[in-house]
């Protein structure tokens, strides 16, 4: 409690001292508010890091880490990770019995789903966007109207009939059945169309004079120029696939085929509440998107906002 007042005093006193220099005081106040916002955003992450090392019995006993004098293998250990990698034997009473499938199988499933899905979307959306931006052809206006219209239909509406279709194709409970319907997106095509509009026509024509095939022009000349948008789109698409829950939860049934969000969600059910194990899994599941985000940060922000800022 006392610590809180010290912090408050430390926040309030400097601006009072700076009262004669309002610009500096204002800048200081702004920094304080931003730092506070960041602290609020980061607190759950710090808590998460502490939680995955805490023993089940003390998960909620300490706000974050236990005080140093309480550190022992009874409060801090790797039990959560052991259980995660062994498949959660204590949670075996649920409808799904864990233990036969390795955790890495789920990581692999999620990775396949996210990378194949992202790569397919990247290829098809960039091809489509390039065609819409740089060619004139019969039916173009109709197609674009159709695409705009399709974007207003919420995907949940289509999930039930889509599920029936996938059952009909015999693709239910396979990653193929999950990836196939999501391989194209009208939104992605529009993003790439906008990026391709700024590619100079002269360059494409020059490529054509040099005898490049249409596909070579797209692949060798256009794609390198729209790389920032491609990077942003990759991250968006990857995040969407990697964290998807609704569709995988409906489409996948057998234990060996599930993706990370679906399987981790099963650690929390009516029969068992293995929060520590779930959170350990969450911490692992956050790593790939975080790494991608740090690498592609700059392109991502500009690509994300390109559609909106241009109006």
């Amino acid at each position: 409690m006392n610590a809180l007042y010290v912090v408050l005093l430390a926040l309030v006193v400097p601006p009072l001292l700076l009262a004669r220099r309002p610009k500096l005081a204002l800048g200081y106040a702004r920094l304080c508010v931003l730092a506070l916002a960041c602290a609020i955003v980061l607190a759950p992450f710090v808590w998460l890091v502490a939680a995955i090392f805490k023993d089940k019995s003390v998960l909620n006993q300490y706000a974050f880490f236990p005080p140093l004098r309480d550190w022992s293998s009874k409060t801090l250990n790797l039990e959560n990770f052991v259980m995660l990698f062994e498949g959660g034997k204590r949670g075996a009473q649920g409808t799904i019995s864990f233990g036969r499938v390795s955790f890495w199988q789920y990581v692999l499933n999620s990775t396949v789903f996210a990378t194949v899905g992202t790569m397919a979307q990247l290829l098809f959306c960039s091809l489509g966007g390039y065609a819409l931006a740089k060619y004139d052809f019969t039916g173009k206006a109709a197609l674009m109207t159709f695409m705009l219209g399709s974007m207003t239909i919420p995907s949940v509406l289509l999930l039930a009939p889509l599920y029936r279709m996938i059952v009909g194709f015999g693709l239910v409970d396979t990653l193929t059945g999950l990836i196939l319907p999501g391989m194209v997106s009208a939104y992605g095509i529009f993003l790439f169309r906008q990026a391709c509009l700024s590619v100079p026509d002269e360059m494409i024509d020059a490529g054509r004079i040099d005898g490049c095939s249409e596909f070579t022009i797209y692949f060798r000349l256009v794609m390198p120029l729209v790389r920032p948008m491609a990077a942003a789109f990759c991250l968006m698409s990857f995040l969407w696939h990697w964290n998807a829950f609704f569709a995988p939860n409906v489409f996948l049934h057998s234990e060996a085929n599930l993706t990370l969000p679906v399987v981790l969600n099963m650690y929390i059910n009516d029969y068992s509440q293995e929060y520590g194990v779930f959170l350990a899994g969450t911490a692992i599941a956050v790593i790939p998107p975080a790494v991608l985000f740090l690498v592609l940060q700059k392109e991502f922000i500009s690509g994300l906002t390109a559609g909106a800022v241009k109006g």
Binding site: L34, A131, Y135
Partner: protein, 324 residues
């Protein structure tokens, strides 16, 4: 732009003055002409895949809404029965009310917070701005399912991080049972959603603010406008497109909210105490994929689609009004 190119010699005076040989592409005389088949080939993956996986389900969603089904195979025609059932279904109205309240809270709390942070960040120096933006955006890297369950532990009475924080700051809330008290469930969902989406919307606002002409704001300030007047009369109109865009995506996203409450209230399968946390899509998921009535689920899906469609129309209206 694109048609200009192929007609350049006639449409553009400057190009007409140049010798014809200077633009051989348009005539196809010395270079290869643009292949006519290329755009069709490039768009064929989209056209084929969306014909199979969008148009067909779309049509069958229309058909399905008039049938009562039991699982993927058995079905009986019921006409408008599904819609009539929904209109008499108290659970549907409960879900509709919860979702609408959530959408309103999102707009009223999320957008001003995002805008405030964006305004604060807009005046910061470049590197600092990038750093804060990175942190504030980071919750979006975590899937909604993970966020939901993580926060369900943070909301635990007496021990949860949020309960402890409220106690330390306001001397209230240590023993509050956020997730099992019907009147606190929606606030808990709203708080969680703020943690995720304030930073997301802020990124959009910030990008828009960077494009505002600073000299206009400066001129207003010299004319004696105070900070609020400058923001309301100069800055906000300058970024109105983005504000409308964010507003609409926020509302549409709110009506499609599903995974977050499902995980947050996992002990009641996303319903919450007295169904206080039941959302439209949560209800759809329950009807269609847990009870197996895909027909009633499709009917509910159409109702949600109509709501979203109405909001999209309102967006177009709003943009037009603001253009004038």
């Amino acid at each position: 732009m694109r048609t200009n190119r192929s007609q350049a010699p006639t449409a553009d005076g400057a190009a007409r003055a140049a010798p014809v040989g200077a633009s051989p592409i348009a005539t196809g005389a010395s270079g290869k002409p643009r292949a006519r088949w290329a755009p069709y080939l490039f768009l064929s993956p989209y056209v084929l895949l969306s014909a199979v996986f969008f148009v067909v389900p779309f049509v069958s969603a229309i058909v399905l809404a008039f049938y009562a089904t039991n699982g993927p195979r058995a079905r009986v025609f019921v006409g408008l029965g599904n819609f009539a059932f929904l209109l008499k279904d108290p659970m549907f109205f409960c879900a509709l009310r919860n979702t609408t309240v959530f959408a309103c809270c999102s707009v009223v709390l999320q957008l001003p917070l995002s805008m405030g942070l964006a305004l604060l960040l807009n005046t910061s120096r470049g590197r600092l701005r990038g750093f804060f933006r990175l942190i504030l955006f980071s919750p979006n890297l975590v899937g909604q399912i993970f966020v939901g369950i993580l926060f369900s532990v943070l909301f635990v009475p007496r021990y949860g991080l949020i309960n402890r924080s409220f106690q330390a700051l306001f001397h209230w809330g240590l023993e509050e049972r956020w997730l099992s008290n019907p009147s606190l469930v929606l606030p808990a969902i709203v708080l969680t959603s703020l943690w995720v989406w304030v930073g997301f919307n802020m990124v959009y606002f910030l990008a828009a603010l960077q494009g505002v002409d600073a000299s206009l704001e400066e001129a207003a300030r010299i004319d004696g406008a105070n900070a609020w007047q400058v923001f309301w009369h100069v800055t906000l109109p300058g970024i109105r497109h983005v504000v409308v865009f964010v507003l609409i995506t926020t509302v549409i996203g709110s009506y499609q909210l599903f995974e977050l409450p499902l995980a947050l209230l996992s002990s009641t399968r996303g319903r919450g105490p007295d169904n206080a946390g039941l959302m439209l899509i949560t209800y759809l998921n329950e009807i269609a994929f847990e009870d197996g009535d895909l027909g009633l689920g499709a009917a509910l899906g159409w109702v949600v689609a109509l709501i979203i469609f109405g909001i999209s129309l309102a967006q177009i209206r709003l943009t037009r009004v603001m253009e004038d």
